[in-house]
Symmetry: C2
Subunit: 260 residues, 2 copies
């Protein structure tokens, strides 16, 4: 008998070569959690994540599932999370939730909605407190213009222009449900943080970073809303803006149907 567990996971992606376990000595989030699971349970469990985040990308609530053989004694899901966390220290990875689920649950395929956030710190001085967690841009961006332009991307479209050339998805069609750009006050010294929130059921490889990099062009005044629309319609990666750095990106929330 196996029991499937759903884990909710927070990590600071700075030190990791991404979520996905890799050959060799590369430090990965999946690899470190699977090692911790083996240390606590003796079991080799393969985790399936909702989103395979890239190197340097963070998560407040990544979700992954894995199948465990029966434990020798019954374990509370909270105790399972605690035991894995004990073996994860001092990694910057923390299991913040654990729940037994049915075998039909799949972290990736059952996900109904994902929220990615992208943080831009706008000020002349480099970030000290937020190093590795933001994209640092020195010159002012017009967040209102970015937000207004972003709305042309909402809906069901071919997002080839915002898709990495390495993207393995067969289908470039995605539905973007929400793309909001807003300012959060940062400090008293004229700096500001611009927060981009992107919601949809699924995203193409590098899609949010490519959206962020292109919206920055709008914020700088180099691109208009019409340019953004034309880039989308071109269905050609070379017609959109650059890929924003991984550091600003965070997988912030994943929603599942209530019964999952």
């Amino acid at each position: 008998m196996t029991q499937r567990y759903k884990f909710t996971i927070e990590y600071d992606g700075t030190d990791y070569a991404g979520w996905q376990r890799q050959e060799g000595d590369l430090l990965t989030v999946q690899g470190e959690i699977e090692k911790a699971i083996e240390k606590f349970s003796g079991q080799q469990v393969t985790l399936q994540a909702a989103g395979r985040t890239d190197a340097g990308v963070h998560a407040k609530a990544q979700v992954a599932h894995g199948d465990f053989e029966d434990f020798t004694k019954p374990m509370d899901p909270f105790e399972v999370a605690k035991a894995i966390n004990a073996h994860l220290r001092p990694q910057k990875i923390s299991i913040i939730g654990a729940a037994p689920v049915g075998d039909e649950f799949h972290a990736r395929f059952a996900a109904k909605n994902k929220l990615y956030t992208y943080r831009i710190l706008v000020r002349p001085a480099f970030p000290a407190l937020e190093q590795g967690l933001v994209w640092h841009i020195k010159k002012p961006l017009d967040a209102d213009k970015m937000h207004e332009a972003a709305q042309v991307l909402i809906g069901h479209h071919d997002f080839s222009s915002f898709r990495d050339s390495q993207c393995q998805s067969k289908n470039p069609m995605r539905t973007l449900d929400r793309l909001d750009v807003r300012v959060r006050d940062y400090d008293q010294c004229g700096g500001q943080e611009i927060l981009i929130e992107a919601e949809g059921q699924s995203f193409l490889h590098h899609m949010v970073r490519n959206l962020a990099g292109t919206l920055a062009l709008v914020g700088e005044g180099k691109w208009t809303k019409e340019d953004l629309k034309a880039a989308l319609e071109a269905k050609d990666r070379t017609k959109a803006g650059p890929t924003a750095p991984a550091a600003g990106l965070c997988l912030t929330r994943i929603d599942y149907p209530k019964d999952a």
Copy 2:
């Protein structure tokens, strides 16, 4: 001729033995900035900070002043900050503001008001993204009770009960203008962040950390508002709660009179 500069400084205090320069090899915020100033200008400038933060304590907007001999060519204050920052990398210290001020300006004595914030992360799982920036408490705290009790401390009092035994101030009297405790939503997994905000013109050594440690006892339900009042009135450090960890504390804002 010398020119006094006022600097606004952000730092992640995790790796530093506090603000104050020390003998030997200890890494300090003041020491690193003074070294960077010397590298860029050749001048040995001694900085005076508004608040000498302890080891592990952070700042979003520490303020310090220092006197420079005339530069060989006139320099924009923004260029001065940029030059210092260039020599500070990869330290987690950033000069976020610089302004020439009159010789009568003093970062510490001219400060009209300081805001310290103290962050508590409440959840079973240890922090991954906020490591070193929060006090991690596993069991729930009642933030409303903490806030209500905190109000007995507002005003002009002898704060000996919340003062470190090493405190060098001659006078234990301080005026606490604001002590608010509120909850910030943290994530979808039941965790929460409790934010304590303490405002006043000046504070005793460890005062905010001792307030936070004692308020946590109220939040846990071990202490009542009346216990907190009795602790204040005892004027005895042994009658108040423990010193909360440095990691949660941040010097967040310092106000000066408009003409300073």
